[in-house]
Amino acid sequence: MKLIIDNKTIEVNRDLTVLEAAEENGIYIPKMCAHPELVPYGGCRLCIVEIEGRKGYPTSCTTIVEDGMIVRTDTNTLQDMRIDLVQLILSEHPSGCLLCEDIDGCSQFQETIRKVGVTTGCRWCPKDKDCELQKVVESFNITELSLPGLYRDLPVEKYDPFFDRDYNLCIYCGRCVRICNEYRKSSVLSLRQRGKHTTTGPSFDNNHTDAGCEYCGACVSVCPTGAMSEKSRKWWGMPDTYSSSVCPLCSINCEIQVLSLHNKIVGTIPPGKPHETAGELCVKGRFCLSEIVNRTERILEPQFHYPEGYGIVSWDEVINKGGEILQNLKPERSAVFISPDLPVEDYLAAKTFSEKVLKTDVITSSCFDTNMIAYTKLAFNSVSLEKVRKADNILSLFLNGNYNFAPLTMAVKGAASSGIPYYQLGWIKDTTSRFATQIIVPEPGDEVRILDRIITCIESGKCDNEMIKELSDRLKKNDNPVIIIGPWVLSLTNCTIILDRIRKIISITNSKLYMPDPHGNLRGLLSSVSLKPVESVLGKINKGEIDLIYLIGDAPFSVKPKKVKHLFYQSAFPAPEDLEPDVILPSTLWGEGGGTFAGENGSPVTVKQVANAHDYAISHLEILTRLASASKVKGAGVAIKNRAGKVPVRLMQQIPDDYVTASALSGIASPGKKLEFIMVQERSPHMYMNLDLGRGIEGLGELVMPGHVQINLSDAKDMEIENGDSVKITDNEVEKTYPVAVRKNIPKGVVFLTILNGSGDYKNNPCYVKIRRVNV
């Protein structure tokens, strides 16, 4: 159809709004509340236009184009009305700077005192020069305020991690509320109070965490003013470079946009125009990446362990000394541990290094235990996220998606909100739980029995439980049912048995699998290196069959094993205090070097270097090449460089069939005597190299509370336990004391604990426990 906007004939072949049609054709209409990812709202009214034959001044964002429409966007009446509207906004928005003739001189001197507690003008605002209101005001050339100013004087909210809110700067466009509800489907934010007391935020004056906020940052991204600002990037000013990259923090490998200033990473946002895309990132991709790279606790220089203690040495010296150790190695008496978060080039280098220099094929990763092997093998059948979006029934098992896997949880929420039945089995209420048709909180041991009942029901049609019958029928008869298994299953005692049952369900139904993995590039690692199960490697070490251990971004133990002679530690993050490696080699991190990641279907994804390396750090590939040359093995250095330069066009994962032994599949753990609480533990899914982000990133720590037992609010009330109190927890065999974090997303009768690695302190996970408050 055809329409005329400002005397320009425009052809449109879709149901666009007048605003969209104008923008597509380069016609500027001012706007504040309209946003490409949101349903038109008509709140700010700046986008009013005149349409021939229509009464009044319709908002162009809410008007759909019609054939033959004649639209004017720029008449004097419209401009006058818009200026009045902007004046209304400015009367409540600290705007002195916008009207100040000395604004340029100010920029020269004010830089150091910008970082004020409360923003009272543009030059002191974290969003200065990145503010949509500024641009609108500039477009109108406003030099006078026609209305008296009203400063709301609300306290600035700084108590939540990752972003601050200053509602004195809010213009009520409602974008944050709408993006949270419409787009992310999190329903954390709403407009509170009425009239001039209105603010946005969680209802009932809850803090964001208790209101179920995932800290996805969508609200911060779309906020047109400085009302919402990122804590870590608040005072850096505008970035000078925007580069596209890929997040290395889980297997979904979201596309991200890295913001840098003077070759230093200052933040990460979703791809697309800043402000215009809310994206599908989780808290880690949105807020933690820049904090990881800019951590102060990095290894700064190479170190060598002399008899009298550690000495900081030059790279040349450490390579020579390391090379000397490597010259006298016996074949097959070395072991390599490598992180599943590195680029493929580093893996190929490590493989060649092991073969040529260490003369060993013992390469493993501390995550690669029996459970992980079973999980990864089953995950070979994992489908793409698109299938989850189009599923006609979803069952999620052990999915703890609060601060994780946002594209997956968004797919689930999207499907479920359109009416698709969604069953959730697990012990924590995550962001998807509000959409669940049924939430199953299994008793210890029941996590296998429920699956067995589903299998029986599918095979024989017999079932005495209505819900299981319904679910089984859907898995069997629907066309596109999807089963999601979260990596939480890796921490459960019955992990391999559960995965075996799922395999069975897949084989007898139409169900598809989706299994996210918390490691950034385990796929790439498994396609480049034939990993040994970590248990077998640890067994060799304990038996004294290993002389040298080489750690590449991995720290499987906190103390150097007794019978090991040499320990090389190569990472960006400091070694555990008692590890005492012989050689400490500082490596670069994601973003400080380029590389290849293995995409969902095995296709290589290239990650660019976007920042300068930290101090003296160099890449894993470079370190290994230099050490190989120093080890005097002929041609080893060149071989490593050559091998790493040849990344295959398809990165296919491989795990030998005999890795999951029959013994792993026998015997469901006995749940033991029933006690008043169910204790469930989860291995931290927030690892990056050997850094647990829950412990390393302050803000994430406040959310996931590592080392704290999380307990339901009403359970805590009954037992008179408050945040920070200590409790003794026993399964009648082991008794341990933990600090408490009271959380609303823990079901009644369940206590939840994040552990760093291993299987935790109790014999079984989950298990029944008793809780006692420790009197102080």
Binding site: S95, G96, L98, G105, E111, E144, G149, D153, E698
Partner: protein, 276 residues
Amino acid sequence: MFKVIERKSIVPNLHLLVVHAPDVVETIQPGQFVIIHAGEGSERIPLTAADWDREEGTLSIVFMEVGTSTGKLAMLQPGDEIQTVVGPLGVPIEIEKFGVVVCIGGCFGMGSIYPVVRALKEKGNEVITMLEGRSKNLLYWEEKLSKYSDKVIMLTRDGSYGYKGHVKKGVEILREQGIKPDRVIANGCTTLSYLATRDYAHYDIPVIVTLNTIMIDGTGMCGVCRCTVDGKMKFACVDGPSFDGRLVDWDELAARRKQYISEEAFLVHHSGCGGF
């Protein structure tokens, strides 16, 4: 230890701090400053005295919340104690009978100009006080200052109170009213000091500004507050903080103030100080 008598936010970002420091106020003069140490591990912050009461032994300071340590100060409650209040430091501002003196205060300077205005008036000068803020809600102490001023002129950048404009507008008002100043004293941020120097240059009279350089010990030992005045190296702590703005090397001053900006911004986020 120094006891906090009062700490309140007077306008957004600016706080009034009243502290019991009898030894300091015994000899303090207008234009002098103290160094405050919010707590162990804090920076040392130089702050100009805004008022004092020798009988009670109390010292008042208006400070701006602008980083980690001032953030800590902004959380003080009456009855709390401050580890260190060192002073009086710096050279007192020159107070003579000059004739007509224009005193310009902006931001925290609306507080620190008060003792200067009072002393000038007591010496028999005709004092014209100009207070400058971006908006009406950022102005304070108008009444307190008017007691010692022959005229108080209020300036806001958005025109929400008094005249609309900045320092330059003040010059226009003086011209319209036929007032010829004999001396200008400006207290406030570096921009305000610079603009006062620039906009009053044509009168060819001293424009006394209070420089806020980065400062550590305040006694001339460390040299961090180095600035160039009249081509000579000066230390703001012992040679100032008041200088004739016409002689100040402003570009050098601006550059030196930005020296630690990335460390400062990093700390605001990572000090774990109430979300700062």
